[in-house]
């Protein structure tokens, strides 16, 4: 009750130091394990022959990996990688790893980030591009979809549902649209060159809460070949808030009722004693 202020202050700073130590030790350990992101690789250059793709970490987080014979239209699954910087290199299929790569690029992987590293454009001006994939949950009851335009035969194209719901208009070759929220369910996606041409139809089902990339490729027959890739997926409705999974049986019972009882007893006894003593004192 009558602690002097300097003591209180000292106690306060000691508590602050303790708290800081506790926070550092608590969060230092899992921080290393928490850092993961996703990278996938794609070949989206129509007139470029198959390539070998090399992936290595600049800080040796993973063993170097090689994917042989990746041809036009191929898109890998996501690779889960520790955060850090990675180098992606492409060599002509079958070329020795010692030769100079045709293309290289770097991709910085952040925690929870997702990236598509794609060879895009015509062979003459081929480039490796890093697309950032936004896999966050769409608004309730919506799906997210974007267009990756890799068709040189239809340099600009429109994408819409059969019922006329536009997904994207006037998408130029070698570009990627932003994700757009659409209604989930059965779609009959129609891809048509802007200004007219042969329409290609892709029947598909979009799930609520899931994220998609629609890749438009050149078909060998001269038409368009739309492909739907699942970027991230989930099922069912999204529960709100946490889960009530405990009844407190392993927690100590609240000390408050007993403390209050004892306190009131002590108050009654002390008060009574004081009154009694004083009365007797006066009586004397």
């Amino acid at each position: 009750m009558f602690i002097r202020t300097p003591h209180v202050r000292r106690l306060g700073s000691a508590a602050a130091v303790l708290a800081a130590v506790a926070v550092t030790t608590l969060f230092a350990a899992p921080a290393r394990a928490a850092g993961d992101g996703y990278v996938r690789l794609a070949h989206l250059s129509p007139d470029t022959p198959a390539v070998d793709v090399y992936l290595r970490s600049t800080t040796n987080e993973i063993k170097p990996q090689t994917f042989k014979g990746v041809a036009y239209g191929a898109m890998s699954d996501y690779l889960r990688l520790p955060t850090g910087t990675y180098q992606v290199a492409m060599r002509k299929a079958g070329a020795p790893a010692s030769t100079k790569p045709v293309l290289t690029t770097q991709v910085g992987v952040a925690t929870g980030g997702a990236y598509t590293v794609a060879g895009v454009g015509r062979f003459a001006d081929l480039g490796l591009r890093v697309l950032t994939d936004d896999l966050k949950l769409p608004d309730p009851g919506k799906s997210k979809v974007r267009i990756i335009q890799a068709s040189v035969k239809a340099p600009v194209l429109d994408v819409a549902g059969k019922n006329g719901n536009t997904i994207a208009d006037g998408v130029p070759f070698a570009t990627t649209t932003a994700y757009r929220e659409v209604n989930p369910g059965k779609w009959s996606v129609q891809v048509v060159p802007t200004g007219g041409g042969k329409t290609s139809v892709l029947p598909c089902t979009l799930g609520a809460g899931s994220v998609y990339s629609l890749v438009v490729l050149d078909d060998k027959a001269g038409g368009l070949k739309p492909q739907l890739h699942v970027d991230a997926e989930r099922q069912g409705s999204v529960p709100l808030g946490g889960v009530a999974t405990g009844d407190g049986g392993t927690q100590p019972g609240s000390p408050m009722p007993m403390a209050l009882l004892l306190a009131s007893l002590a108050a009654a006894v002390t008060g009574g004693l004081v009154v009694l003593l004083r009365r007797r004192l006066r009586a004397a």
């Binding site: 949950l137 069912g236 529960p239 999974t245 009844d247 049986g249 392993t250 006894v269 004081v274 004192l281």
Partner: protein, 284 residues
């Protein structure tokens, strides 16, 4: 106030000293009487001085001037003493109770007593050695029926959980975990959810030791005739009123699992824990 406290101390001191001695205060030794005398004398003097301007008023009980003062003044001393006693007893009890609840060596430490090295290489670090361009996902038939986590000695059949009024319902039984059956099936692409109670009113429940999981631990989910293995990537505590819906229920590019239970401060009034513990795991 300080004077009053001193006076109280005097009374108490005198009372304590005299109790073992004579039963009667009238025949008290003179030495004890002397200690009280100055206080009494001062009071008498004050009373006389106040009364002096009204000599016409008949004097009543000149030997007991205290009786003339306000009720609150007479009650003040016992009330203050009672409050003091109540405070001291109450806080002491709470302090002692809390200390007793948290012994220096927690028998519930379990495996924490000897923490091993954190395993790495979750996710498809292993699968990447295969061909991520193959595309075909691993299709596992059947519903999940059982969860096993060897490192914490957990083996439980699974009940089905559903969303009621927006919130995910906890398992009905305390000795059994449950999977969110309207959401992603454990082993499919997406965030599958398995929840379990940390305790019942009686004591520890099925997910009591979930807090001991560390990155690298394996979680096995029986699905039909096969077993899907997940690797813990991180664990996190969240206040229920700031539950990260996106991180827990958002779409994922790979097959993931979240184990959810309660923890943190237990609110006795609401019979509810403040926090949720979420263990993130990824297939492989």
């Amino acid at each position: 106030m300080a004077d009053r406290a001193d006076a109280a101390a005097d009374y108490v001191a005198v009372g304590v000293a005299s109790v073992p001695g004579a039963l009667s205060w009238h025949r008290r030794p003179a030495s004890a009487r002397v200690r009280v005398a100055p206080v009494e004398a001062a009071r008498v003097e004050v009373a006389v001085r106040i009364r002096a301007p009204a000599p016409g008023k008949p004097r009543e009980e000149p030997d007991h001037p205290v009786r003339d003062k306000g009720l609150w003044r007479r009650a003040a001393l016992p009330v203050v003493a009672a409050a003091l006693a109540a405070f001291v007893v109450g806080t002491t009890y709470v302090a002692v109770a809390n200390r007793a609840d948290r012994p220096a060596t927690d028998p519930d430490l379990g495996r924490w007593a000897a923490t091993g090295a954190v395993a790495e290489g979750a996710g498809n670090a292993g699968r990447a050695a295969g061909d991520p361009f193959a595309g075909a996902g691993v299709a596992v038939p059947g519903e999940p029926t059982r969860i096993r986590i060897k490192t914490i000695g957990l083996d439980s059949p699974l009940e089905t959980l559903h969303v009621v009024e927006g919130a995910l319902q906890p398992p009905k039984r305390f000795d059994r975990a449950g999977w969110y059956a309207d959401g992603t099936v454990p082993g499919d692409t997406g965030p599958a959810v398995i929840a379990g109670h940390v305790d019942s009113k009686a004591g520890p429940a099925i997910f009591y030791r979930l807090r001991e999981l560390v990155p690298g631990d394996k979680v096995e989910v029986q699905r039909g005739g096969s077993v899907v293995t997940f690797t813990v990537t991180r664990t996190a505590w969240y206040p229920k009123n700031a539950f990260p819906t996106d991180a827990v229920y958002g779409p994922t590019p790979d097959r993931q699992l979240r184990l959810i239970t309660c923890g943190g401060v237990f609110n006795h009034a609401l019979r509810s824990y403040r926090d949720n513990l979420v263990v993130y795991a990824v297939a492989g």
